[in-house]
Amino acid sequence: MSNFVDRPRYLCALGGAVGTLKVLPRTIPIIHAAAGCGGNIANALNGSAGYLGSGYCAGQALPSTNIYEKDIVFGGEERLEEQISNTLRLIDGDLFFVVTGCMVEMIGDDTLSVSRRFRNQGYPVLAAETAGFKGNSYRGYDIVLETLFREYVDVSSVKDPKTVNLWGVVPVQDVFWMGNLNVLKSLLGQLGYRVNTFFGEGETLDNLKGAGSASLNIVVSDTFGIQAAKVFEEVHGVPYITVPLPIGSAGTERFLRTVAAALQVDEAIVGQVIAGEKARYYAYLERLSDVYNDLDLQRYCVIVGDSNYAQALTGFVADDLGWLPELVVITDILTDEEQKLVAGRFGGFASGIAPRVVFDTDAGNMSRHFNDLWPRNRSQRYYDAFSPAFVIGSAFDRDFAEKLGAPHLSVSYPVSNRVVLDRAYAGYAGALRLTEDILSVLVGNR
């Protein structure tokens, strides 16, 4: 079986690495790659991630060796050395991180040694090999985190019981990463914990450097950042737990209880936090009591997303909105083991809704999966139609939604038809935003 992908919803490992590094505070990514890798990544990340922009030192400003044919023949190490030293001279940053493209790895450039020479001279230079053929954006995120945890985070024998680290929400690839990290940090803050999220608001490289003194790592994913968590545990002796990304009341309550149990937080405190958040959440949702019931805003639903979002969105529409998510398509490239793990997240919804869950990377296959699930109208007079319906997916899934005659909201990458700034969909606060966005589509032409 071949593994081509019809319209991938991610870049390569290099793309994921750049996406991760460009939003790490005061960090300057340097790519050692053919000219074009940087340009491709710049255009992809800006236009596909809610208009993220070039950032501090990426986009067209991203330092790049731009190697070409001559370097392929003679090797690109000299060019890399020149580029690093001139980047240090020209760019104001606190951490310089070299990541590689396919060509330089195929010709055998020793990027790590070149970078280490700078580090040995006292320059803050790290490097990792992120050739595109090593995997997709999620892999690049993991490689960058692994390198940071191994080589940048200080080893600390003293652990602070009130500090935790949280990752697994992949910057840029989760277009709402910034808002989501802020929400999760604030929730755990209510439990009495300082949280390093590395990429959220107000984070600094110092938080990252001191992350070794945390007492627990919380990976908000079954699939992303797991390798990095293992490295962290190995190097710094900090254990990790994995929890699925929470959206809405049921999911967030589960999230808080799981984390609290691992941290042995007093049940009464967790209960108080949950009660307070739920009170606020329902004080707002109460407003929709009329419109939801007067206009009948219940919908059949198709959800398309990566393994983080698919279960979170499904749980939210099933258990919070009371919708009928009949079909879920999970679009990242997963091993059989990961698929099993992810599929397991679709069993326990309070509403009892059990959607068909399909793993498929190909954008063109949505209609086929839908037709497999839902019987067509064979000119019956009385037909159980998939209507009224709604599609939550990416910008790629608009066509499918149009074919279905359903309205559509882009949540997972690529999101080219929305502008996203600090918007969050995680937690209770995020679920309110998501409710606003989904229902606004439904009342949008009134």
Partner: protein, 513 residues
């Protein structure tokens, strides 16, 4: 010119001595280029730029009823995701029934790097055929398969017997060239080899000499109008309006054309380039193989170059008098409309950056409107700019050849402090952090070409000047990543012109001597 027999075209460094690293002035540049010594220039600090694969996709993603296969690791072609939504709308502007142009990535991983990627390519082609039934399947080849030695043309030759779609391999591996404009040649090469051939005409059952004559007459007034991916439908409508006024018919291509449209190119009376550096590879081959003559003349932006463009086409068809009347009517009305804008724009200082031909024409237009042009930044330099450069009134005008490289732009903006910046997509957001109001040098919506383009550019510039608050606030509250000392240094200090290899012209002179 005859490269069509080769699998891939030569890169532009070799074919045209194109360069992309220079800082100085127009006059000096023209002198250096004639000595052929720019080609070896390079940067010792560089920033991300596009490759020929990226730019190839900008054209190929518009070919209607096609599927693109990006043969490479999973990230190659990833930028298509950002424009997929809007691309369909642009396609529909040309053909209301147009479908989306999907792309498939062959996802070359560790295994393929060792064992070869041809099986992935074969599977992707068969999937594209079965799933989408397109008229053409266009295969763009990236760096990795080129290094591991995948035989793209072999796979294509083998599968062409099994699929109905025309298979079009495009060899546009990024590492082969620093000049992303090599993409134009790579794309045209694939089109020339696989989509350009004389159409079959069925013989009439009943002879009809009058209809035959009409058809012959129609073809004698049919022009291949070669568009660029950076222009809009509105630009096409404007140029179509002007050429229709001379009673000419148009085949508009390559962007947004249907794969079958390219056959018609062989029967046209003339090929006309919209941008001088874009199409020489295509039109030279059309001339060589099918006897279709061509005109390469600047770009129809601004009154002077629009007039020149129309007159050259008119001259070919011996329609000079009609063209003069058209130009007189158009410019008379336009000049009246420009009066209030000249007031607003007079003396405003502007820095311009984008592709060389656009920049040179834009500079001419903005000068004409009364602005003061402080300098030009162009993505590359080749001989197609020479005529326009020689018409530049200020020979000492600052001239920077750079594909992107916004660190040089930042230094220049800080130095020159222009009232306005006109720039290429991707460079504008960085320039904005230095505060000037910005007009994008092109957009796929909006209009820049012909007489209507002149008016709209004037109107847009005036609008930008009316409220520059957004960028001014950005400048006050954000910063670029360069150290402060950079702004005191020579903007071109990272261009290495030393120990440059001898250029081909010089080598020729030496050999002759």
């Amino acid at each position: 010119m005859d490269y069509v027999r080769e699998k891939a075209p030569p890169v532009r460094e070799d074919r045209l001595q194109t360069c992309n690293a220079y800082g100085g002035n127009c006059c000096d540049l023209a002198g250096k280029s004639k000595q052929g010594c720019l080609i070896g220039a390079r940067r010792t600090f560089a920033q991300a730029q596009g490759c020929q694969l990226n730019l190839s996709l900008a054209i190929l993603n518009t070919i209607r009823d096609s599927v693109i296969i990006v043969h490479g690791p999973i990230g190659c072609g990833g930028s298509s995701a950002s424009s997929a939504g809007i691309n369909k709308n642009f396609l529909k502007l040309r053909d209301a029934g147009a479908r989306d142009v999907p792309w498939i990535n062959t996802n070359l991983g560790n295994n393929e790097v060792i064992g070869g990627g041809e099986a992935n390519l074969r599977a992707a082609i068969l999937h594209a055929e079965k799933e989408f039934r397109p008229s053409a399947i266009i295969i763009v080849n990236s760096c990795v398969p080129a290094i591991i030695g995948d035989d793209i043309d072999g796979v294509v030759a083998e599968l062409q017997k099994e699929v109905n779609a025309r298979l079009v391999p495009v060899h546009c591996e990024g590492f082969k060239t620093r000049i992303s404009a090599s993409a134009y040649d790579s794309v045209y090469h694939g089109i020339l080899r696989n989509l350009v051939y004389p159409p079959e005409h069925e013989a009439r059952v009943m002879p009809d000499e009058l209809e035959d004559l009409k058809e012959k007459y129609r073809l004698s007034r049919t022009v291949n109008l070669l568009n660029v991916a950076s222009m809009s439908r509105a630009d096409e409508v404007e140029l179509t309006r002007l050429l229709k006024a001379l009673d000419l018919n148009l085949n508009i291509m390559p962007c947004y054309a249907h794969p079958d449209d390219f056959q018609g190119a062989t029967e046209a009376a003339l090929s006309v380039c919209i941008c001088a550096t874009h199409d020489d590879y295509f039109v030279e081959h059309l001339k060589e193989r099918y006897g279709v003559p061509f005109i390469i003349s600047g770009i129809p932006i601004g009154i002077r170059y629009t007039n020149q463009w129309i007159m050259e086409i008119a001259r070919f068809f011996k329609l000079e008098d009609a063209a003069r009347r058209l130009i007189a009517a158009e410019t008379g009305e336009l000049e009246q409309a420009l009066i209030p804008y000249r007031e607003v724009l007079r003396g405003k200082r502007v820095l311009i950056g984008a592709g060389e031909i656009r920049v040179l024409a834009m500079a001419e237009l903005l000068r004409y409107l009364g602005l003061e042009v402080l300098g030009l930044r162009v993505h590359h330099y080749d001989k197609f700019a020479d005529a326009m450069l020689s018409e530049m009134p200020d020979e000492k005008l600052m001239y920077n050849v750079a594909t992107g490289q916004p660190f040089e732009q930042a230094n220049l903006l800080a130095r020159l402090q222009p009232d306005l910046f006109v720039g290429h997509t991707g460079a504008n957001g960085l320039a904005a952090k230095q505060g000037p109001p910005i007009m994008p040098a092109f957009q796929q919506s909006g209009i820049y070409m012909g007489y209507n383009g002149v008016f709209e550019i004037a109107r847009k510039l005036a609008r930008k000047l009316r409220n520059p608050a957004f960028n001014r606030n950005l400048a006050a509250n954000t910063r670029l990543p360069y150290v402060q000392e950079w702004y005191d240094q020579d903007p071109f200090s990272y261009i290495d012109t030393g120990d440059m290899p001898v250029g081909p012209v010089e080598a020729e002179q030496r050999n002759a001597g």
